[in-house]
Amino acid sequence: MTMSAPSNAFGGQASPWVSRIAMAAVHFFILVLFLQNVAADTWSSVIGLLFAHLYSVVALTYWSKIERTAAGDTVIVTVTLEYVLMAIIFWERASAWPWSTMFGLGMVQVCAFAAVKYWKDLRRAPASAWFGLIVILVYVMVAATAPIIAPFGETEIVGSEYDVWSNKHLLGTDNLGRDMFTRLIYGGRNTVGIAFTTTLLAFIIGGFAGILAAAMRGWVDQVLGRLVDILMAIPSFIFALLILTIVGTSIPSLIMVIAVLDATRVFRLARAVSMNVVVLDYVEAASLRGEGLWWLIRSEILPNILPPLVAEFGLRFCFVFLFLSGLSFLGLGIQPPTADWGSMVRDNATLITYGDITPLLPAAAIAILTIGVNFVVDWFLHKASGLKD
């Protein structure tokens, strides 16, 4: 170990929030600098990229409380440099979509840091977990850098209808003559992004309400519980169709509707597992100490119900994904011409009758991600249950 940075890389005892806000401001400033440089010329952009990298190494060290080693630093620097090299090779494309380039760099660095930080656990992870992690990583990178990778524009009509697979169009073209490979890449970005946001929102709403109900009991529990009962009494697909027909199918309304519907399931789980934790002595000890509700929820209950919630997250994510694709298939999901895996299956369904598997590719993409996510969740659960013993 060459450098073992303490938990706080900058020393001192300033409030973490003040320094975090300061860091965020610096981050933003550098981003702006970089984007301006993109317009100017190639070399200053590269220097900007490297500068941003250096800065983020420092920032991430501080944030992730990583214990730095020579090997870890090498991994992070190498991975970043490889990314930068790729960006330089494909400079025309990379500089045309600076936001995507920047986002991709961020993802690469976060992944590298996570890998270094959790290397001990990763090394012992089973093959299934590795498969899941790699699948997720590939999806995330593809989604982040979609415009750079995709050979054509998302809605661009580039050939005749239902072209076969060829060198120009790797997976052929769709019913309007758009490149299938391009649509698949963009579809991943749209569908995964929306599904992830929706699930996250569902967990924030449902998880918070569930813990609150368990911690407060009494009328809060009653009111929230009955509200959820009412929502759950209506078949969710019909309910979603109804609401979406009324408010219209914009992406924000899609996310909100599915999130609220899914939050009811999360609520019930979060409430049930919190109930088991709330009665334990350490929660009693904390409330006897005089801790407020927020502390009880955040520090005493939440960390202890996290494993089942994460497991549920994996499962919910898949359900939301299917729900979204189902809605798209019916025409009420993500609206054309935006690429989306669900509606891509519907649009090209005719091809199946001719023995062409192209329309099934988006479905396969959904299936692979679903399996990958669940592998990772299984591994996490296994690890978490081991920790308790």
Binding site: Q13, R124, L280, D281, Y282, E284, A285, A286, S287, L288, R289, G290, E291, S299, E300, P303, N304, L306, L387, K388, D389
Partner: protein, 548 residues
């Protein structure tokens, strides 16, 4: 009666474990946990296995059935049971033996019984399964055994569900179940550890009688030397998977050869120095005429007591006597329906939410189960650091320095322990962390709710000594809730005896422990097992003499 334990000629060897080695798996590496132990047992003999937790006594007990727990394996040696080597025997032949010729009685009968079936149905399962007797015969046999084990209402108790009988009765029903096929060997794994002292006696005498009646060989596993000396003909002392000492019960108790055995024997000898009578000032805590109820069920009836500064008041009683409820009233978790709690002369608000931060700070609590009393997802640093932040507004380096100080106070090495999770601590260490958390608030009174009952005796004694040292150094007052009179003898200045929600006797320790006692105090006192192998016989003789 005593000649049955010493002089009786025993039968042929029924169990012979030779050079037994068992390995356990952790972090994907096999570690040896039992290092070549030899155990022989003759028909009709009772062998006591004794040691702290982690000594390997349960593992050896299970190995006597040819069984190794999940994550364990028998890696060496032989287990000869009546001419069959259980290590080499097939799963099928083991299944034939288990339940019919070798039986097992678990520590927690409540957890070992299936709550969905009646007791007698579970009783009949083994004999019918092994084809020993038909169902109707098994039922009448069960009733006979319930008689012999002196269960109340033996004709009909079998037709109840496990949750409908008490813990002591359940443990006896479990013993009856183990006896169902008249096995040659029974393994008792701490069968009375979870019971009150008064119930323990009934179970002990019932188990002993039935083992003698059927001339069954038994392995009796416990960490309580006083209990094992009542039950066993021969005792093996184990530590870290090694045999420390083996010998006839009487010889072992009277003349232990090894240092460790002497430590185990001396465990109940810790005594606090007699402190002065309380000075006449206002008591630190005063409970006046408190009645309390859970919902509509009244639990406390007109309870009053005082705790003075720097004194230890022990509250004694069986489970259900209301002693923990009293702690809940004092801490404000359960507002009393009548009566008041005064702190330093000032009335405390009945509910804890209305009490000031300082009131809460001065009154801290240590719980029975260290496993659930600390958050498993927080490191020691934040567990101890939080009260420092919360009550005393300490931050950063000041806080860390104080945490180190507190860890030193509870005799844990700060460098090693400060960043551990509770899962990486032993039971005794967790309880020390709980003590440190209470101390962090700089309290004046600490309520200790059965703080040692979940711990091994040697560890428990260390905790008691630590609490005593802290009291001397910091001038704390303790309210010590316990059902263990040995603990009371060790630490108390004053004793409050509770029965069914009422205080039946209270006063300075010497006064309460000196006759004449209240009837119930006498019962409690006489029920504490002593290291004398004749103690149970004498006691039972005495009690039957009284009733006759």
């Amino acid at each position: 009666m005593t000649d049955a334990m010493t002089g009786d000629p025993k039968g042929e060897i029924i169990l012979d474990m030779h050079g037994l080695r068992i390995e356990g798996r952790s972090d994907e590496i096999w570690h040896e946990i039992v290092h070549g132990v030899n155990v022989t047992l003759r028909r009709g003999e009772v062998l006591g296995l004794i040691g702290e937790s982690g000594a390997g006594k349960s593992t050896i007990g299970l190995a006597a059935m040819g069984f190794a727990r999940d994550g364990c394996r028998i890696s060496g040696g032989s287990i000869m049971f009546d001419g069959v080597d259980l290590v080499k025997a097939s799963d099928d032949s083991l299944r034939q033996l288990r339940g019919s010729r070798i039986a097992y009685v678990a520590q927690s009968a409540a957890a070992a019984f299936n709550p969905a079936h009646k007791l007698i149905d579970q009783y009949c399962e083994a004999p019918v399964q092994h084809g020993i007797m038909p169902r109707a015969e098994a039922e009448s046999d069960a009733i006979d055994l319930y008689h012999r084990l002196r269960l109340p209402d033996p004709e009909s108790i079998g037709f109840r569900y496990p949750h409908q009988v008490s813990g002591g009765q359940l443990q006896r029903a479990m013993t009856a179940m183990a006896m169902a096929c008249r096995p040659d060997l029974i393994v008792f794994d701490e069968p009375t550890t979870a019971l009150d002292v008064t119930t323990q006696i009934e179970v002990l005498s019932a188990i002993r009688d039935i083992v003698r009646q059927f001339n069954t060989a038994a392995i009796y596993i416990t960490h309580d030397l006083a209990v094992v000396s009542q039950m066993a003909d021969r005792i093996m002392v184990l530590r870290h998977g090694n045999l420390i000492e083996e010998g006839e019960t009487r010889g072992m108790i009277e003349d232990p050869q090894k240092e460790y055995t002497r430590d185990l024997l001396a465990v109940r000898t810790f005594r606090k120095e007699i402190s002065d009578e309380p000075n006449a000032e206002v008591p630190l805590l005063s409970v006046r005429g408190v009645n309390a109820a859970y919902g509509k069920v009244p639990v406390l009836f007109d309870v009053s007591m005082d705790i003075h500064r720097k004194r230890t008041v022990a509250v004694v009683g069986e489970s259900g006597s209301g002693k923990s409820t009293m702690a809940r009233v004092i801490t404000g978790l359960l507002p009393p329906s009548q009566g008041e709690v005064f702190y330093d002369g000032q009335a405390l608000a009945p509910g804890h939410r209305r009490r000031s931060k300082d009131d809460k700070r001065r009154l801290q609590m240590i719980y029975q189960m260290p496993d659930t009393a600390i958050n498993p997802r927080q490191r020691v640093r934040s567990i101890i650091g939080r009260p420092l932040e919360f009550y005393l507004g300490m931050r950063g380096e000041e806080r860390d320095a104080r945490i180190v100080q507190l860890l030193e106070m509870i005799e844990l090495d700060p460098d090693e322990f400060i960043d551990r999770f509770p899962g990486e601590l032993s039971g005794g260490q967790k309880q020390r962390i709980c003590i440190a958390r209470a101390l962090a608030a700089e309290p004046e009174l600490i309520i200790c709710d059965e703080v040692t009952s979940a711990l091994d005796q040697l560890v428990a004694e260390e905790i008691l000594k630590l609490l005593q040292r802290l009291q001397d150094e910091l001038g704390l007052a303790y309210m010590f809730i316990t059902h263990d009179l040995a603990t009371v003898r060790a630490v108390a200045d004053e004793i409050v005896v509770m029965l069914q929600g009422k205080v039946v006797e209270h006063g300075p320790k010497a006064e309460v422990l000196r006759p004449p006692h209240h009837e119930y105090t006498a019962l409690l006192l006489s029920s504490v097992p002593e290291m004398d192998p004749d103690w149970l016989d004498n006691l039972l003789d005495e009690r039957s003499g009284q009733t006759a």
